[in-house]
């Protein structure tokens, strides 16, 4: 989607994007010639459709997508599983990145309670961010389970490497 300033016949530039509110996004565009601004307000269906493409929208978001960075947030269908998700998008989302769609992922995760998961070292946590966000929660749970079975209370790089070996990766 592109926006054109009709009086100037100039393509407008994305200026600001706010986190979604009740499923609606506010994305502001500005004309670089006359500085006229306008806002695109999406309805939840429109927000959902764009989110479903697995992309970010926001200043600087273009072409910088990490693997699965704003991909759908997968959760289990049962009520019990809904409480198992965690919010671990610290490296790529939320207000800091100006990305409303990934902000929405955070928003969804924030509404779900933690699972009493193990502590992850910063290095292990950083590696976890490499996993598409929509399966990150499941990945965390799987590694937590593996660690618990070994009597460990913390996930670190060496444990991840060990798990990799264990499953022939």
């Amino acid at each position: 989607m592109k926006f054109l300033c009709v009086p100037c016949d100039t393509p407008m530039k994305l200026a600001k994007a706010a986190p979604p509110e009740r499923g609606s996004l506010t994305v502001e565009y500005e004309c670089p010639e006359c500085f006229h601004t306008m806002a695109m307000l999406t309805n939840p269906m429109e927000t959902q459709m764009v989110t479903s493409l697995g992309v970010k929208i926001g200043p600087g978001g273009g072409g910088t997508m990490a693997a699965g960075s704003a991909a759908p947030n997968l959760s289990a269908g049962s009520a019990s599983a809904a409480g198992d998700a965690t919010s671990a998008d610290s490296g790529e989302s939320g207000e800091g990145s100006g990305c409303p769609f990934s902000g929405m992922v955070d928003e969804m995760a924030a509404g779900q309670t933690g699972s009493g998961g193990l502590a992850w070292t910063p290095a292990a946590e950083k590696r976890l961010q490499n996993i598409p966000s929509f399966v990150r929660t499941m990945a965390r749970k799987g590694i937590d389970k593996y660690a618990r079975e070994k009597g460990l209370t913390q996930v670190d790089d060496s444990l991840l490497d060990e798990a990799k070996q264990c499953f022939g990766m």
């Binding site: 269906m45 927000t47 697995g54 947030n73 289990a76 490499n130 996993i131 598409p132 990945a139 991840l160």
Partner: protein, 301 residues
């Protein structure tokens, strides 16, 4: 119409006059992800999608049996379970408890004890739970669910360390329309094999997939007739299982037929292989199909 608007219509740029999209970068991100997928899959020699259109004909089982057969012959093999809603490959591979292990730039592919790599939602989600995507548009998943599933599949493809592979089998979900969507998704380099059973009901549905794939550039290597008779271990013979007259011509070469064997089904449930004995009818049948498949892959234009 106001003079101002009239004037604007004359000078206004159209969509294609404007380079870029003003900063949202949606198209660029999708393109970048496609490029990442292509990079990740660059080491895969053959991509083979196992489809049908019909459900319950044994696509997943046959996929795993082919993978096992080729793996035993020394090939580097992996399976992508593209059935996000009814994944089978984690169980078939005995990898239901394999965690996703993050590595630099993605995650490592779990491999079973035979060395077959498997990417399946089944390793990520217990069978007691259905796949569900969070949504801000309540009650309208019929509008966006398919888009989201393909986005999820793309995210997985782009994040997995596939490495060098001789064969990547893609276990497709049912549905003729889905078969075509995956042909578009994976690109024209992906070859297809269709699975049916000897009943006109099943063949009729598979024929629709053949017709739909006929519109695509992807090579369709042939079909496999699964459950072609019932193998009785007591008497060692294959008895008829379906009374199909096979009136529906699929217009494809038949790569082979596999008899139904209850012991094979039980082994699949347990994530084990039944036997490697080539005198066993199922093993011999799959070996013959694997040979035919490889032959067609090597000789296709």
């Amino acid at each position: 119409m106001s003079p101002r608007l009239e004037q604007a219509e004359i000078i206004m740029k159209n969509y294609y006059d404007i380079v870029g999209d003003g900063g949202s970068g949606v198209l660029e991100q999708v393109t970048a992800r496609d490029a990442e997928i292509a990079r990740r899959l660059a080491g895969v020699r053959h991509r083979v999608a196992i489809g049908s259109g019909k459900g319950g004909v044994g696509k997943s089982t046959l996929t795993m049996l082919l993978a096992r057969t080729l793996r035993r012959q020394g090939a580097r093999v992996a399976i992508l379970d593209a059935d996000l809603n009814g994944p089978s490959q984690a169980r078939l591979a005995g990898l239901q408890d394999a965690p996703l292990v993050p590595v630099d730039g993605g995650f490592a592919m779990p491999r079973n004890h035979e060395g077959i790599g498997v990417i399946s939602i089944g390793t990520m989600l217990p069978e007691s739970q259905a796949l569900k995507f969070d949504s801000v548009a309540g009650g309208s998943s019929h509008h966006w669910r398919s888009t989201r599933e393909f986005s999820a599949m793309a995210s997985l493809l782009a994040a997995v360390e596939w490495g060098p592979l001789d064969y990547l089998f893609i276990d497709l979900p049912p549905g003729a329309e889905r078969t075509v969507q995956y042909a578009e998704f994976f690109g024209s380099d992906t070859a297809f094999v269709l699975v049916t059973i000897p009943s006109d009901l099943a063949r009729g549905v598979v024929a629709r997939s053949v017709a739909a794939l006929g519109e695509m550039p992807n090579p369709v290597l042939g079909y496999v007739e699964n459950m072609q008779g019932y193998y009785c271990a007591d008497c060692g013979t294959v008895k008829p299982l379906f009374a199909g007259r096979e009136n529906v011509d699929l217009g494809l070469p038949c790569l082979g037929s596999v008899p139904f064997d209850p012991r094979l089904a039980a082994a699949c449930d347990a994530g084990e292989s039944l036997t490697e004995d080539p005198s066993h009818p199922s093993v011999a049948a799959v070996q013959a199909i694997a040979a035919a498949l490889c032959g067609r892959l090597e000789t296709r234009p």
